[in-house]
């Protein structure tokens, strides 16, 4: 297991190195000039030159890359051209919003998806099964963006049950420690702040969770159906083991393996879906920030954020692979 982790981490370093090179070339291939984007249409040549010198854009590109890589190795991701804030600082301020949303969506998808998929499989051909199969198809085909707008319109604007935008009521004086607002409220015992942040999460999480939910339901259902027909389940039933034990230990545990693989792959879809959901619900996560960074040609932010996201994505998939070991001990041995 340890070798697996070490090997994967080593591979990650190589991937990141390649990615940094690609990103560097890519952001510089974007049309436009970052100094002009910062100083506006009427910028003077002197002003442009000052900015270019300050950020090293006046040097040959290969030299810029070497400097960039050198800083990167020392953990220095630079500062945003647009706001002057260090990229790492902005990331720690913005990313929690996106992660909080993605986690809420994922938890929702797991908490609802696995039992639903399991029940559908156990009552194959019943009304629940039909409902689940049909509903999950709908969940996959309806775009996140559209669902978000509909949810917001019906549940927030028409019924007024949920807020329409943001992460927390502007009237709540909340202390922010980790920038995970729900967690922050718990840590500081500002229960109202935590609850409010949770209420703000419901609609975005429902919208974003729709796709992983649909996929989890389908995979769980298929996988459980698969396992139910297996010899070991029949043996367990023949032994007279209680139904609950068969379900938990012999069916679910085996059936969850493909589900957990799916979860890892969903991480990427969740991150990109979060960007759309953030737009609909005016959440200040990384989505809106990256969008601004592209329009403003904020090279350090683009390079830094995308690298971070790549790291997160790779780590999530590593965690998923390691989790196989817990679900299926045979993986640990091999």
């Amino acid at each position: 297991m340890l070798t697996l982790v070490v090997r994967r981490l080593g591979l990650l370093v190589v991937v990141l190195f390649g990615l940094s090179l690609l990103l560097f070339a890519w952001v510089r291939a974007l049309p436009g000039d970052p100094a002009r984007a910062l100083l506006g249409e009427k910028a003077t040549p002197a002003g442009i030159a000052a900015i270019n010198e300050r950020y090293g854009f006046d040097q040959p590109v290969w030299q810029q890359y070497v400097t960039y890589l050198g800083r990167l190795l020392r953990g220095d991701f630079g500062a945003s051209i647009n706001t002057g804030q260090p990229v790492v600082q902005t990331f720690t301020e913005r990313f929690p919003a996106t992660i909080e949303l993605a986690l809420a969506a994922l938890l929702l998808a797991i908490a609802v998806g696995i039992p639903l998929g399991y029940l559908a499989a156990r009552r194959r051909g019943g009304w629940l099964d039909h409902l689940v199969v049909g509903g999950s198809l709908l969940g996959v085909v309806v775009p996140v963006f559209f669902l978000a707008v509909i949810l917001k319109y019906v549940l927030a604007i028409e019924l007024g049950w949920f807020p329409t935008s943001g992460r927390q009521d502007a009237r709540i004086d909340a202390t922010h420690v980790t920038n995970f607002y729900v967690l922050d409220g718990l840590l500081t015992r500002e229960w109202d702040a935590s609850w409010d942040a949770l209420v703000h999460l419901v609609l975005p999480a429902l919208a974003l969770g729709s796709i992983p939910l649909a996929i989890i339901v389908r995979i769980t259902r298929a996988s459980v159906l698969d396992v139910l027909g297996d010899d070991h389940v029949r043996t367990a039933q023949a032994k007279g083991l209680p139904r609950a034990i068969i379900s938990r230990r012999h069916v679910l545990r085996n059936a969850l393996l493909p589900v957990s693989t799916t979860l890892g792959l969903q991480a990427g879809a969740l991150l990109s879906g979060a960007v759309l959901t953030e737009t609909v619900f005016s959440i200040n996560g990384i989505g809106s920030y990256l969008f601004d960074a592209v329009t403003q040609l904020d090279y350090p932010v683009l390079q830094g954020f995308i690298l971070f996201i790549a790291v997160v994505y790779a780590l999530v998939n590593l965690v998923v692979d390691v989790s196989y070991g817990f679900i299926d001990p045979r993986v640990r041995v091999s």
Binding site: L38, A46, G84, T164, S165, G166, R171, L186, T188, L257
Partner: protein
């Protein structure tokens, strides 16, 4: 693929025999205890920073709420107004800072602010301000004559990047130069120096008279800041960095206003706290928040949902919806102008008769009824009627299709075909829906035999680039919102020099406008600009169309908000109650 994989794995699986069913439970228990301990440790170092008594959800003093939440469309650029020219920045800084002079609420009339009175010398070259007593900046530093001098000197001394068009925009356009000009386009500064007098007053000297000087001081860009804090926070960009990114401009602005800065969560909100030591009428709410919601529809929905208490630039189509469900709509007195621009460099448009034909072909009343908010007035000249120098008797061109046709044939044009540029996907205070306005004008023009070829472009960067940066356009839609009550801020901006937008060269007009800048009294300004307005409307470089009324919307419980034509809206008088 993962599905078939699992199948083969589970087929060969030997069901795990777990002898001790207690094991996972014990493991779970250990995990839970570790998690609890961890949370407790973290929580021990995460103290709530709330004030005693809390200022959460809703206050309880007499049913009033202690937080006012306003929906803004974007983050401020920075918190230092000297380096800003956009409404979202000023919306925030107007609460934190005050200028020497401000406007009477709801009008463009000058009103005392940090200066209780002022006097101009006869030659218009020096202004002496008497300051309010007992005013301190929010960091405790007294506001006095020396502080005023320090502010004027600070602006005058800006160097490098800070002098740029995108940064010290208003200083450049009003004062026209710095102590040391780093941009060759700049000239001698209007500012000559200032002195703190022994009697506590302050005198500001100018190098040449400028009629709009006092009015321009109402601009939020010229608000008084605590220059000690500016310096300490790197707010002048002395090291060659962008001063908008300094610690001062992002987290430490210090002014004398009714609110003080509390927090700025980028992309989310700016939070302001009541300044309990404010010298004037103290704010009714303890906290004011500008919440960033980029999309106009989302702002309306946030208001309907109660997430915010008010927002600006309500879409004309939303006004009725909101009013019918008990939301308050406030119309901001129009201080803008929408016009149909004509490029005289484009073949037949250089002919005065053709331009007159276009003017007679347009039915402004019908256009307003079709495409502009209720309460909008048609325009007769290139400024709204509340600006100094507006001419009641200016030459007008009434709607008359036959006359338009006749003028065209007199010009030897039986029917003309010109490109018509208009922007898409944008809403400006003077032009809420360009597409609708284009359609209405186009129909009216074609009825008079003037055919147009539509050229629709994105607002930024294409549209302005085409109509202001190139000569390749015929007719176009554009407008302007005034910053302060000075005619030069309207017609001086449009017709002060030869431009690609209008495509004509009239040295007589340019000179008249340059001279008008230097008259010293308001009455002289009045008559001078009335003459110039007549001159412009005879030349007919374009067709002024209307001054559309921008609207604000508020929740039923909001009181005390006075909409200002120049957006000089300070929230100390605002109260919010549940209703």
């Amino acid at each position: 693929m993962s599905q078939s994989q699992s199948q083969s794995q589970s087929q060969s699986a030997v069901p795990e025999q777990d002898p001790s069913s207690a094991r996972p439970t014990r493991r779970a228990f250990t995990l839970a205890s570790v998690a609890t301990a961890g949370l407790a440790t973290l929580s021990a170092c995460a103290e709530s920073q709330r004030d005693d008594g809390g200022s959460g959800g809703s206050g309880d003093d007499g049913g009033g709420r202690d937080t006012f939440v306003f929906g803004g469309s974007a983050d401020p650029d920075s918190l230092d107004p000297v380096f800003a020219s956009d409404g979202e920045t000023f919306r925030v800084t107007r609460q934190i800072f005050e200028g020497l002079v401000s406007t009477e609420p709801g009008t463009t009339e000058l009103a005392p602010s940090l200066a209780s009175k002022w006097e101009a010398s006869d030659d218009g070259l020096s202004y002496t301000f008497t300051l309010q007593d007992g005013v301190t900046f929010s960091n405790g530093v007294p506001f006095d004559a020396a502080a005023v001098v320090a502010n004027f000197e600070r602006w005058y001394d800006l160097r490098g990047l800070a002098q740029g068009e995108d940064l010290a925009y208003y200083y450049r356009s009003i004062f026209r130069g710095f102590r040391t000009n780093d941009d060759p386009a700049l000239g001698e500064s209007l500012y000559a120096g200032s002195t703190a007098n022994p009697d506590g007053t302050v005198t500001v000297n100018l190098t040449r008279p400028f009629a709009g000087f006092l009015a321009s001081l109402t601009l939020p860009a010229f608000a008084m800041q605590e220059t000690g804090a500016v310096e300490a926070g790197g707010g002048n960009g002395a090291d060659g960095s962008d001063p908008r990114q300094s610690a001062y401009a992002t987290s430490g602005p210090v002014g004398t206003g009714p609110f003080t800065f509390s927090a700025w969560e980028r992309g989310q909100q700016v939070t302001l706290k009541r300044n309990d030591d404010y010298w004037g009428e103290k704010a009714k709410v303890a906290t004011a928040v500008v919440r960033v919601i980029g999309d106009g529809t989302a702002r309306r929905q946030a208001l309907q949902n109660g997430d915010i208490d008010g927002y600006d630039l309500v879409a004309p189509a939303d006004v009725e919806t909101l009013e019918s469900s008990d939301f308050q709509i406030q119309n901001r007195p129009a201080f803008n102008i929408l016009y149909l621009g004509i490029n005289q460099a484009y073949a037949p448009l250089g002919d005065l008769k053709v331009r007159q034909a276009i003017a007679h072909a347009i039915d402004k009343e019908a256009l307003i009824g079709n495409a502009l908010p209720e309460g909008t007035k048609p325009a007769t000249q290139f400024m709204p009627d509340n600006v100094i120098g507006w001419n009641e008797d200016v030459t007008t061109y009434e709607y008359d299709v036959d006359k338009a046709k006749q003028l065209l044939s007199e010009a030897g044009q039986s029917g003309i075909d010109v490109p018509f540029n208009y922007p898409t996907g944008v809403s400006r205070p003077y032009m809420p829906n360009p597409e609708t306005i284009y359609n209405a004008i186009n129909q009216q023009l074609s009825a008079a035999g003037i055919t147009t070829t539509p050229v629709a472009e994105q607002w930024t960067p294409n549209y302005l680039g085409t109509v202001q940066g190139t000569t390749q356009h015929g007719l176009h839609l554009l407008g302007w919102t005034g910053d302060y009550n000075d005619p030069d801020n309207f017609i001086g901006v449009f017709f002060g020099a030869a431009t690609n937008e209008w495509g004509f060269n009239d040295p007589g007009l340019f000179e008249a406008l340059a001279d008008a800048r230097t008259v010293t009294s308001e009455s002289e300004q009045e008559s001078t600009y009335q003459d110039i307005n007549e001159q412009i409307m005879t030349l007919l470089p374009g067709i002024p169309i209307a001054s559309p009324v921008p609207s604000l919307a508020f929740a039923p419980g909001v009181e005390g908000y006075t909409a200002s034509p120049v957006q000089d809206e300070v929230w100390n008088t605002v109260s919010v109650s549940d209703s």
